[in-house]
Symmetry: C2
Subunit: 500 residues, 2 copies
């Protein structure tokens, strides 16, 4: 079949529909799938992923993309679609099917081994499976191709366009700024309270409050939904079908509140794609870091601000009159921003969080470069924890075994969390410049001006530009730790009464 | 690729996985899909169905099936898999893609026209779209091929192996037995009460009671689930992931109670397929009529029996102490079996129900044979309603426009409802012979012996045999109206105190 743009578009739409359905099957797996159907769903997902891969590497698509790349009469968005899909296809084509299969098997085995190792609190039980995963990921990195930096080609899968040479100096500087900041805060005479011990927060009231938050940030519940799952995430099938999950813990409302705001940030990004991009490769964030910038902007920069709770705290006290009796807004705001070096990344505060990431990034580089014998990994982890955060894991489940990512084979993923933090501060700073009364809006609970500004400048751009180029277009500069560090210094200096 | 049975099996599994995922996307559409995502889901479903069709008609599969059909070393189940998939593929191959597309378009248009016609209560607005659907379905029937009876080739899509020559005499005899039976019952001095006016049945209590019923009939909620939808149905993705829906109406608990038992009957069938048949063409009922026999057996033969309520009525009264105050079991049992000729099929009782079906079957034959001008269809409908049931629709929404099936193009589907009723009575009779204390079990709320007997003799057989052959194997004879009529005469004779 001779290519035309419309036949190419039809293939793009088919691929996006399949991705959407994979999204549905995955969401369902985490929300409503009956317990006994785990294997059945694994087969179904594997079949769908196989079909998606087959359609993506189909030679006709390669010819059609090459043909389209040579056309001079395409519109800018059409050219961008061709470029994005070509990148995706080129990567898929480069990995032999045998390697894809070997990786899938190694991941299954590694997950089992990781669970067993956690149970017995012994990294050694995970080590052989991890070695296999690493060997295959190195092979895959070389198959993708790179210019001497193997990690780049893995990073490309999560943060297209980002390179180690660009990332390492930024994260190293961030690390070197955070270590003394954490030390100053933990030594400060004023320490913030931990309010949520021994109180009970009704689950239904929490659920209703999270829906109120979704409405306030402008998440469209007619083009999406919220459900419950053990690990909150954002999924869905289409920009008009965006699915958030949250987790209710009756002992601590912060789980539900902040995971709802966090996932809503992801969800607003998905709902904000331009209608003209639906069912094309442009209805996507250009990177996971940029996607994460939206969740962290809403969760941390907005959701943990004093301005935000100036509006929402009265309603929260009304929802939990007994649990929050006697807790004033100031104490609540302090409690949700308490800095405390700890062992577990997912429980870390805003200031210490990125040190957890830098540690993983540095270790991943060593592992992918094959410069750290695996038996030394736990010690290397623990030594860095002590050096960066002043704490040492009592066993491997509190250390090197805490995250599932490596068992999944996800090397190159962790740094996107820090990129999300850095981009979130820069984008919020740009929003403040563009919306002079932004903090006033937030104090009054008016969150739509910020949502709409982000929609216009970030979300609706989709995948037209690589992440850093888009950030540059919006903020006037690319990746930087300046805005994030300034944000931390100003916020935490005030909270702790110290100069940072 | 040279065929082997294992490569053929892999293709069968892929096809079943795709069907499972189509089931998920359809279930989701009726339960949790956000309002604005209708179009997106339609595209996704169309993509999945297109892929399924493409894989089914793939020439390699045809060659592999032909190769397998010639092997003498396959096991019986393997031969059955090959036979079933060959039948399905042969039908798919015979319909040109242009006709598939034209039918999909005609169905979309017909649905819109049907809704508009209902709104304005004018069949004439639906007539042109229905004419187009009929023309295309006739063309499709001829493409499938038949031996002079065009309707046979449509019927084959729902009730493989059934033929007009076999079906018409049975349904005609049924009709001729039912008309006087209805007349006798409506003229009987004793009439049964209509209890459910002006009472309120709490929705949550109804939901809890339906879950109790699911547990009692042995529907495994770890291999399935129940949700709510406007129109109850059974869907799902796999025998270990069977999804029922029910509908709660606070003014009338019978909707939820009986639709739950009805769908549970379908659900038990799906959960009862043999593990060795999972992800193959054998994990399927051999016909829609046989599937329906299970829902109707549980809903009507069991669920509307006095024995059933002997056990469950005390719990029902406990669940609705106010709404059922003063209503004794006998009155309740009478009320759920009240016979009353009415205009709407879905509200019909067990005795009048099949007259609604025979009417549709007779009209469908005329329409598919092109022997009834469409403008005369409403009058033909109304005339038969008067003749069979003694009632005449006041407008077309109460008559010819009441069902969505024809707008969907589903000609050949209606008779499977009556086949379900006939088979249900014959199978229950066989169960009574095999389980001497069956009614005692039911009186004590012990429903698992019946479920297990059905599982062994019907469900776990899957698609090894055509429906009527399987029924013959279980009951000692094939399709007959004898058991069903005897069931009606005995039950309704007693309820109304008349001889039928």
């Amino acid at each position: 079949m001779e290519p035309t743009f419309s036949s190419l578009l039809a293939r793009m739409q088919e691929l996006r529909d399949l991705q959407g359905i994979i999204g549905l099957a995955t969401w369902d797996q985490e929300t409503y799938l009956p317990a006994k159907a785990d294997d059945a769903r694994a087969h179904q997902l594997s079949t769908l992923q196989g079909l998606h891969h087959e359609r993506l590497v189909d030679p006709w698509l390669g010819e059609a993309l090459a043909w389209a790349a040579g056309r001079t009469d395409l519109e800018a968005d059409q050219r961008a679609m061709v470029r994005v899909l070509t990148q995706e296809r080129d990567r898929a084509v480069r990995v032999p099917q045998a390697l894809v299969k070997a990786l899938a098997e190694a991941q299954s085995r590694a997950l089992v081994a990781w669970r067993q190792a956690r149970k017995e609190k012994r990294f050694a039980l995970f080590q052989p499976a991890l070695a296999r995963i690493l060997a295959l990921r190195r092979e895959q990195a070389d198959a993708y191709g790179h210019k001497g930096e193997r990690y780049d080609s893995l990073l490309e899968g999560y943060e297209p366009g980002m390179r180690v040479a660009r990332l390492t100096p930024v994260l190293t500087a961030l690390r070197d700024a955070l270590i003394p900041m954490v030390a100053t805060l933990t030594a400060a005479p004023r320490q913030l309270p931990d309010l949520f011990q021994g109180r009970h927060f009704d689950g239904e009231a929490q659920w209703r409050f999270t829906l109120r938050l979704l409405e306030a940030v402008g998440f469209d519940l007619e083009a999406g939904r919220q459900d419950r799952s053990i690990h909150p995430f954002t999924g869905g099938t289409h920009p008009l079908d965006v699915r958030l999950t949250t987790r209710i813990d009756e002992a601590n409302p912060l789980n539900a509140l902040f995971s709802t705001i966090h996932e809503a940030g992801h969800g607003l990004y998905e709902q904000g794609f331009a209608e003209a991009h639906y069912r094309t490769p442009l209805a996507a964030a250009p990177s996971m870091g940029l996607h994460e910038s939206q969740s962290r902007l809403w969760e941390n920069v907005v959701g943990r601000s004093d301005a935000f709770w100036e509006h929402f705290y009265p309603a929260l006290r009304e929802a939990f009159p007994q649990a929050l009796a006697g807790v004033e807004r100031g104490a609540f705001h302090a409690a949700v921003n308490r800095v405390s070096p700890s062992l577990i990344r997912t429980e870390a505060d805003e200031v210490t969080y990125n040190l957890h990431i830098v540690l993983r990034y540095e270790l991943e580089l060593l592992l992918i470069h094959d410069e750290l014998p695996l038996e030394e990994l736990p010690a290397a982890w623990n030594e860095r924890m002590q050096r960066y955060l002043g704490v040492t894991p009592s066993d491997d489940t509190q250390g090197v075994l805490q995250d599932i990512h490596w068992a999944w084979g996800e090397f190159g993923y962790f740094p996107t969390y820090s990129l999300g933090n850095l981009y979130s501060a820069s984008l919020y700073r740009a929003a403040e410049r563009a919306l002079p009364d932004l903090s006033g809006h937030i104090r009054r609970g008016e969150l739509l001006p910020l949502r709409d500004w982000l929609r216009t400048h970030v979300h609706s751009q989709g995948y037209r530009l690589p992440a850093e180029d888009l950030v540059h277009q919006v903020t006037g500069r690319g990746l930087t730790d300046v805005d994030f560090l300034e944000y931390l210094r100003s916020k935490y200096g005030a909270l702790y009464g110290v100069s940072l």
